[in-house]
């Protein structure tokens, strides 16, 4: 005897288990930016693309969790960030490429142009930053996210992003001034800039 409960009729028996094409299109469009961010995080081009692949797999496996009202790039950067952290936990080697290896890896990627000297130095300086500083700096300066957006990606408060970016700039510049052996920049304004604590 059927009782009063109504069992909802399953009209779609062949349940769609995979990401819809529109979602895949969005992923494809986001790949170049993902690759750029990954390259800046892990330096080595092959490792960077491994990170991108890992990110895409996670995104495809969890596509239902993506809120279409959000910017998919932010979502993907956030996944990449977490995937990178997971990767570091699994394998510390990713983060400790020796500086000469970093320069080598980056040089292999593209011809040098413009201020090649500064760019080489920038690579080495980047490598010396902590991951926290580096990711915040890259999201804001290279990905050109707002502090609020970077905060969303990194899952930290916007104020934390602000101070990490600032500290990253200071650290990078200090290293560049020191390594360049030029006293002009170093002797400049530093004494006037005191952090308000």
């Amino acid at each position: 005897m059927p009782n009063g409960r109504k069992i909802a009729t399953s009209t779609n028996v062949s349940v769609c288990v995979s990401a819809p094409p529109a979602f895949r299109q969005q992923l494809l469009a986001a790949i170049p930016r993902l690759r750029r961010y990954a390259r800046s995080l892990v330096f080595d081009a092959q490792n960077a693309d491994d990170l991108v692949q890992n990110t895409l797999e996670r995104a495809l496996g969890h596509w239902r969790q993506f809120d279409p009202r959000r910017d998919i790039v932010l979502w993907l950067l956030s996944i990449a960030h977490n995937a990178h952290l997971d990767g570091l936990r699994r394998d510390r080697r990713l983060d400790v490429l020796p500086p000469e290896r970093v320069t080598e890896a980056l040089d292999a990627q593209q011809p040098l142009g413009g201020d090649a000297g500064l760019r080489l130095d920038i690579n080495a300086a980047l490598e010396r930053l902590t991951l926290d500083q580096r990711s915040a700096l890259l999201l804001v300066l290279v990905e050109q996210l707002s502090y609020a957006e970077a905060a969303e990606v990194l899952q930290v408060p916007a104020g934390t992003v602000m101070s990490r970016v600032s500290r990253a700039r200071v650290a990078m510049r200090e290293w560049l001034d020191g390594s360049a052996g030029s006293g002009s920049a170093r002797a400049g304004s530093k004494p006037d800039l005191r952090r308000v604590v």
Binding site: Q65, G114, L126, M162, R173, L193
Partner: protein, 279 residues
């Protein structure tokens, strides 16, 4: 006018990033006019930013490796139930892995029944039909197009299965536990026919999961204890009650599967004889 301690690197950095409010922005610009060395520092930071972009922006223009493009187009979500089916399939062809965890139904069952069931499990028995339930689960749950034979239209499905397997088939409502009935199918069993009901998780945010309930007319003398066993990812609760054998199969954590088993147990129909619905 200038108060050195109300100004920090952070202000200059945020100014470069366009993140300051109007008041603070004006303060930084005033300082930059007053202090040439500060302006020089800002220019260096801006140059560093430009160098970073120049270093990394070319990646945007690189051709995307085919491997990544193919991954996006060809990726199929590996369903949990597919992985479970693989695990179960491997086990089904072999001997039982261990005796499986035995579990006492809220202390309602007597120890002797439990012990009997345990020894049966240890001997690799209870088991024929539970094994068939697991196998049927593994075969039909990963099926994308035809996981069920008859959709969940309560009266028809229930009547059809009841008529075929000769025990009352009730379409358990597991929505409170987050699962919705998809439908059911008729299956061959050692001593006749059995029915399989399939349920799918309702949580849209998580990967879909499916569980099955296998129903059959029990062999006489079959152990009736409420039991649990685990094969790979696949958990199975099974019991015999009121003239029907039940096996709930799913790749879920034991507690979650137990909650479903309890919901089913509470909704179990009375035996045909007791309900007076002799057929």
């Amino acid at each position: 006018m200038s108060r050195p301690d109300d100004f920090s690197d952070t202000d200059l950095s945020a100014w470069l990033d366009g993140e300051l409010d109007v008041e603070r922005h004006a303060l930084v610009e005033a300082r930059l006019r007053e202090q040439p060395e500060l302006a020089a520092r800002a220019r260096l930071w801006a140059a560093d930013r430009d160098a970073l972009r120049a270093r990394l922006d070319p990646v945007l223009g690189e051709p995307v490796p085919a491997g990544l493009t193919n991954l996006v187009w060809q990726h199929r979500e590996p369903p949990r139930w597919a992985r479970a089916a693989v695990a179960a399939g491997l086990v089904i062809t072999g001997a039982l892995v261990g005796a499986g965890g035995m579990w006492q139904w809220q202390g309602q069952r007597s120890a002797s029944v439990i012990a009997a069931a345990q020894s049966a499990t240890a001997a690799g028995t209870p088991s024929g039909w539970v094994q068939r339930a697991a196998l049927a689960h593994s075969v039909y749950v990963p099926e994308p197009r035809h996981p069920i034979e008859v959709k969940a239209q309560e009266e028809h499905l229930s009547r059809w299965l009841t008529r075929r397997i000769d025990i009352p088939v009730k379409l358990f409502d597991l929505r409170d536990e987050g699962f919705e009935l998809m439908g059911g199918r008729l299956l061959p069993d050692a001593n006749g026919k059995s029915a399989q009901l399939m349920y799918e998780s309702l949580d849209a945010a998580a990967p879909k999961q499916r569980v099955t309930v296998y129903l059959r007319k029990p062999d006489s003398g079959a152990p009736t204890a409420f039991s649990y066993r685990q094969q790979g990812e696949l958990g199975q609760f099974y019991w015999v009650e009121a003239g029907a054998g039940y096996a709930l199969v799913g790749a879920l954590p034991k507690e979650r599967l137990l909650a479903l088993a309890q919901a089913i147990y509470k909704q179990q129909p009375p035996p045909l004889a007791a309900s007076g619905a002799a057929r």
